[in-house]
């Protein structure tokens, strides 16, 4: 069966004053309808760049070097701007981080959503579009009378809900959620995530959730991909990643997150984050790895399958697997 969205061998570079860097380096994954994939990693690991590349909205200094992004059988990287524009939001929408200035500060929130509907479905009359937005607001838990309010009159959690309502406005097939709960307190975060899960079930949407917080992806996603220094280093089902993590970085991330269930102290991932301008030889993680051997410094690791759904980019798995 064909996937809803398939990213194949995607490589994206940025030209910076200090030279060219590969923010995303040969990343591949698939997303099925009604399923969700979480991409987790530190800042600078390339996870957000993948999201913007899918929408065709990379920054001016970014360039797709290789790869394909196949959505419903079409390679989006070969589509022209007008085709992409029509596809955005109608088919693939995005949930932004509400702490950012993602809503226009001088336009009522409701109008910003109505606008998206009217652009993609010009045949929908204004009153019907407004009615749809009011329904969406009810779905995400905002009173419909707040439609006329401006973003600054909303609380952080409400803004996030409004952004989710906006992402659903045109019944998209895929939603890219980039740090949807960052900067919200834990209780609000939990409610927002539950809203996302509920709506995904109802509308059969594929969700690509991008987060630095592995516990957020664990709560929402069926599948988790771990990214390090532009590479996908491990991907598997949620259960596989949480119970049998294979990459040392995944293990470190799991140990770093805070939990209330036991007395374990959170342990930060040791060492400085990878510098994309000066990537080490061999495995990119070897400087921070707890058990590197001499070969890790010299040889680039290759993919190893641990199950039909679980694979890892690490030499250690090679020795364990055999």
């Amino acid at each position: 069966m064909q996937s809803l969205l398939e990213v194949k061998d995607l490589t994206v570079s940025y030209t910076t004053p200090a030279g060219k860097i590969l923010a995303v380096d040969r990343v591949s994954f698939q997303l099925e309808a009604g399923r969700s994939l979480g991409l987790v990693g530190e800042s600078g690991s390339g996870k957000s760049t993948i999201g913007t590349a899918i929408l065709g909205l990379l920054a001016d200094n970014a360039r797709v070097e290789t790869g394909a992004i196949v959505f419903e059988g079409h390679n989006l990287l070969e589509a022209d701007q007008e085709t992409l524009r029509r596809l955005r939001w109608k088919k693939i929408s995005m949930i932004f981080q509400a702490a950012m200035n993602a809503l226009n500060p001088i336009m009522p929130v409701g109008d910003q959503i109505v606008e998206a509907i009217r652009v993609h479905e010009p045949e929908v009359p204004l009153t019907a579009a407004r009615q749809r937005v009011a329904d969406l607001f009810r779905q995400v838990g905002i009173p419909a009378r707040r439609l006329r309010d401006y973003p600054h009159q909303y609380s952080g959690g409400m803004r996030q809900r409004a952004i989710i309502a906006m992402a659903l406005a045109c019944n998209p097939r895929v939603i890219i959620a980039d740090e949807p709960t960052t900067a919200l307190d834990v209780i609000v975060q939990d409610r927002i995530l539950k809203t996302i899960i509920r709506l995904q079930d109802r509308f059969d949407i594929g969700i690509l959730l991008i987060s630095h917080d592995i516990s957020v992806t664990a709560e929402v996603c069926h599948q988790i991909g771990v990214m390090y220094a532009g590479q996908l280093v491990e991907i598997g089902t949620k259960e596989e990643i949480l119970t049998t993590p294979a990459h040392p970085y995944t293990r470190a991330l799991l140990e770093a997150h805070i939990t209330l269930s036991n007395d374990r102290q959170p342990a930060p991932v040791p060492g400085p984050a990878a510098d994309l301008h000066r990537l080490p030889e061999g495995c990119r993680f070897h400087g921070r790895c707890r058990r590197p051997d001499a070969n890790c410094r010299r040889q680039t690791p290759s993919w190893h399958s641990l199950s039909a759904t679980h694979k890892v980019l690490c030499r250690e798995a090679e020795s364990n697997g055999n």
């Binding site: 929408l55 992409l84 939001w89 932004f96 993602a102 809503l103 500060p105």
Partner: protein, 325 residues
């Protein structure tokens, strides 16, 4: 309502600031060199006549008393009598002000509309050739020396081409005719206005264009512009409905203050084109030690600038919903 309270508070502040300006102006005029009498006194006058004149003008009293008279008169709506014209200052200003407003306010509004519109358009093609040419052109306009460009306009438009009149606001030979109709008179003023207006337009247009362009470029880096793109909005909708309304906010301040200063801004332009406005009157009053007239002009400018500030602040509240008073 809080806006009402805000305006009342601001008006009270403005009254105090205005009083300070009045006081400073009054004493500055007394410090200024030169004696207003020397302009009026006829060499043939006797000493006694001179004394009577001094007495009449109130120049014999101590400065403090003069200041109190000045304030007292001001509150009774008496702004003094021009030494030179021998007529009330208020009447002279009332006569000149409409001419200035007609020319300058029109020029500022037109150049603001044109500048922001073109600034908005070219910001969307940053780095291409049209943008570069227009930006450099705007910079040149912005830095032009006003009297020079005014002279150039006169030389070219009035002398070389002979299309436009050299000076003044009206053609007396037309206005003196009893059969001259209102449209004819209006057309005559418009014809006289073209050269000074073109000069002012050139000077202001460039700066509005540059402000709008840089404000647009700043706005384009905002997250909500990315959101608008992600929503699949067409580029012109992103530009006109999301970027421009936000980018316009700083331009409003600039235009508001220019409008205020345009009341006096014309000293040079009005002098070059002999436009019978406030600016030319001010230059005349200062160089002739006509204290009451000069004071009247300065106070008018102060009042207009203060009022324009308030208007801009209130207007901001309507343009930007985040601002509440």
């Amino acid at each position: 309502m809080s806006l009402k309270r805000y305006i009342i508070r601001r008006l009270a502040e403005m009254a105090i600031i205005f009083w300070i300006i009045q006081t400073v102006l009054f004493f500055l005029f007394h410090l200024a060199p030169g004696d207003p009498l020397s302009r009026m006194v006829d060499p043939g006058m006797t000493h006694e006549e001179e004394m009577i004149l001094t007495e009449q003008l109130g120049l014999r009293e101590p400065v403090g008393t003069q200041y109190l008279y000045f304030l007292g008169n001001f509150f009774r709506g008496r702004f003094g009598i021009s030494f030179h014209y021998g007529r009330p200052v208020a009447r002279i200003i009332a006569q000149r002000l409409p001419n200035t407003i007609l020319l300058f306010t029109t020029a500022v509004i037109l150049s603001a509309l044109a500048g922001t519109w073109l600034g908005k358009l070219i910001s969307w093609r940053k780095e291409n050739r049209t943008d570069k040419i227009i930006t450099v052109g705007a910079l040149v306009c912005h830095t032009l020396f006003l009297p020079w460009i005014a002279m150039l306009m006169l030389w070219f438009g009035a002398f070389k081409l002979g299309w436009f009149p050299v000076t003044g606001m009206i053609s007396p030979e037309l206005w003196i005719l009893p059969q001259a109709t209102a449209p004819e008179k209006a057309l005559d003023i418009a014809w006289h206005m073209i050269l000074p207006m073109a000069t002012l337009f050139l000077i202001h247009f460039g700066s509005y264009l540059l402000i709008m362009r840089s404000s647009m470029l700043e706005t384009l880096t905002e997250d909500y512009i990315f959101t608008a793109r992600a929503k699949g909005l067409p580029e012109n909708v992103i530009r006109d409905r999301h970027a421009a309304p936000n980018a316009r906010l700083p331009v409003v301040t600039s235009v508001g203050l220019s409008l205020a200063f345009s009341i006096n801004g014309g000293a040079l332009t009005e002098t070059v084109f002999s436009w019978p406005g406030i600016g030319r009157e001010l230059v005349f009053a200062v160089s002739n030690n006509d204290y009451p007239l000069a004071l009247g002009c300065f106070l008018l400018i102060a009042a207009v600038v203060l009022a324009a500030n308030l208007v801009v602040d209130v207007l901001y509240g309507y343009l930007d919903p985040r601002i509440r008073y």
